[in-house]
Symmetry: none
Subunit: 174 residues, 2 copies
DNA sequence: TTCGCTATTTATAAGCT
DNA sequence: TAGCTTATAAATAGCGA
């Protein structure tokens, strides 16, 4: 709905993502209210934004619906919570570990176990990232200049930093 | 929506009520799925029809969302015996989130929110990583040479890749 | 960021089979 | 009761202030 068809995939632009969340959140809550009234149904909705803000709607006390859910689904919500939590901790920890390994690689650490192919991919990733960071720095540079004296010092600092980088890369590349 | 405006009040005709429930149930689930994907949000929906049939949607395990709900809302859904476990999950999850952000930055994504200082640090990190990856490639190079003909092809491939990188950086740095 | 404002896309109430 | 279809009501994406 709206000025253009929207593909259902993560919205990359963070601002748009937030705006869309706010709009659709209201839409979803409205729909939930409507169906519960129109159809005499019990409905609960719990949402967390990326930032972690919670919104809930429940046509009757949430806890009651959960008890009912537990009964109907056969899924245990709180009796065997311990095992579930433990499993979740394992999962999250593993994910964490993988992320850390990836990060280390991007920082040039622990490269030994990598295959030539992986090293190659890694180089590409670094190269792309560097190009992006660099373009961004230049942009800041330009903006700061425009803002004039108040920011002159910061400007100078960046200027010299930027020059140092240039020199380093120059030397390294020859 | 539809052939006539509908007042939001209980639909008296039982058949219509059921039909509307079925239709709107699907609509609500679709919306829930969409917002969770589009906006990277966690969403849970639990519905009970008049007859007591349950339908659920959850973008991530309901149990986790409920744990989160409890924490955010301060409402106790179940005994706090497992608070420690929940806290640990929260902690690791937050860490994961930070790692993912850092990874995105190193890949040159989502740079907008960064301060000049942060960008600077980022550049340094990228630089170190690049140097490390590069040293590693050289090492491979040497080893492969020593291993002689059997690996000659791979050697060549790496050689050309390496040379390309050199050229790219050279051009970028001037 | 947060409103308003449309142009459009979607959801869906009624009908019909 | 369960699917289709279609006319209409609603939701909302992209903009502009």
């Amino acid at each position: 709905m709206g000025r253009g068809k929207t593909e259902i995939k993560r919205i990359e632009n963070s601002t748009n993502r937030q705006v869309t969340f706010a709009k659709r959140k209201n839409g979803l809550l409205k729909k939930a209210r409507e169906i519960s009234i129109l159809c005499d149904a019990d409905v609960s909705v719990v949402m967390f934004s990326e930032a972690g803000n919670m919104t809930e709607y429940s046509s009757s006390p949430l806890i009651e619906q959960l008890a009912r859910y537990q009964k109907e689904s056969g899924k245990t919500l709180w009796d065997s919570k311990h095992e579930r939590l433990s499993a979740e901790i394992d999962r999250v920890r593993k994910e964490n570990s993988n992320l850390q390994i990836e990060l280390r690689h991007l920082k040039g650490e622990d490269l030994k176990p990598l295959s030539p192919q992986e090293l190659h991919a890694l180089e590409n990733a670094l190269e792309d990232g560097y190009a992006g960071a660099r373009a961004k720095i230049k942009e800041h540079h330009r903006k700061l200049k425009k803002n004039g004296r108040l920011l002159e010092e910061e400007n100078k600092r960046l200027s010299s930093t930027y020059q140092q980088q240039q020199n380093k890369w120059n030397m390294g590349a020859i």
